[in-house]
Symmetry: C2
Subunit: 199 residues, 2 copies
Amino acid sequence: MTDTAKPRREQILDSASRLFSERGYHATSMRDLAGDLGMQGGSLYAHISSKEELLIEIVNQASRQFDEALFTLRAEAMPADQKLREAMYRHIRVVADNMDSATVFFHEWKHLSPEAYARVTGWRDTIDAFYRELITQGVQEGTLRADLDIKMTAYLVLSAVNWAYTWYRPGGSLAPRDVAEQFADMLLGGLRAPTGAQP
Amino acid sequence: MTDTAKPRREQILDSASRLFSERGYHATSMRDLAGDLGMQGGSLYAHISSKEELLIEIVNQASRQFDEALFTLRAEAMPADQKLREAMYRHIRVVADNMDSATVFFHEWKHLSPEAYARVTGWRDTIDAFYRELITQGVQEGTLRADLDIKMTAYLVLSAVNWAYTWYRPGGSLAPRDVAEQFADMLLGGLRAPTGAQP
DNA sequence: CCTACCGATCGGTAGG
DNA sequence: CCTACCGATCGGTAGG
């Protein structure tokens, strides 16, 4: 344990996440990636078997992070508005803490081969289902408005938490918790002023 | 006017939008594109000068559509909540009516050469500014909540209207107007039930 | 992990 | 708009 360096394979995945997110999967060559790690192109294949393996692993790791963050919430007994707030926080935290792989996840999953592609599609459905269940629970409880369209409400929430990958800047003045609290306040309470002041 | 076919150059741009959005810019070869149009790879260069020219034109056309939709709203005198509703409708309509080029716009602009890249970055700032002004106006008028953080509110609205490119399906049961009305209702009125019913 | 290389494919051009 | 081609670069491999 005196060696503080990450295993070479993890370094490769980190570099790949960064380069794929900046330039895109197809525009990043294996020689670009090797150069970023200070080695020759062919040397990468001592650690990995193919370029697509890297993409698959990056996307899988991102999926797993979302899963771990959200699905532990499923069982918890909590009013739905509070649960929605917590889900948004966890979701945004995953995006914010993994900006590179989240960007790869949102942009490059279409380039996966059919099996991996289908897995991602299926996974996205489970995330949709998670939010729809949560909102349905809220409507049934009476904490959320009775006239909500469940599907559209889930899209709206997912828009807010996913789109963060385009504008969030780690290390800035906003922590993931701040973003989530503000978004949840606005979504739950609405943007319109309480008094319908008409001059 | 007896010829109903589009000019060849427009056909090329349409095919390019579709292929770039499905497979990505770098994963689409000029031979793929030519094949989609029933011609040989080299023949494309009778109509265009380079692959990047196609990307630039697709991105520029998309920007122009957003501009035309939104900036005509700027001058209109209208309560800010209503103006926000109308802006969301127009924004979503541009996305919905141009799913391919909107997808290319959101995913592939990073692959532009420095000058075109900088132009897109600058353009995005003007869209941000448009929404921030609109929200500021609403706060000053009293139609929107006084405690809103302008920047975060603009991000939330932009999330909702932009993320539609990932899930909207033209020809489905939801027209752009429906999406915009539902999103605006939820955003303005909030998701929480009016009566704080606590059993 | 490097050197040297493979066949395939890339964007683009010349000449017709 | 086609044929035939250019140099460059791609992902990946063999042998050390």
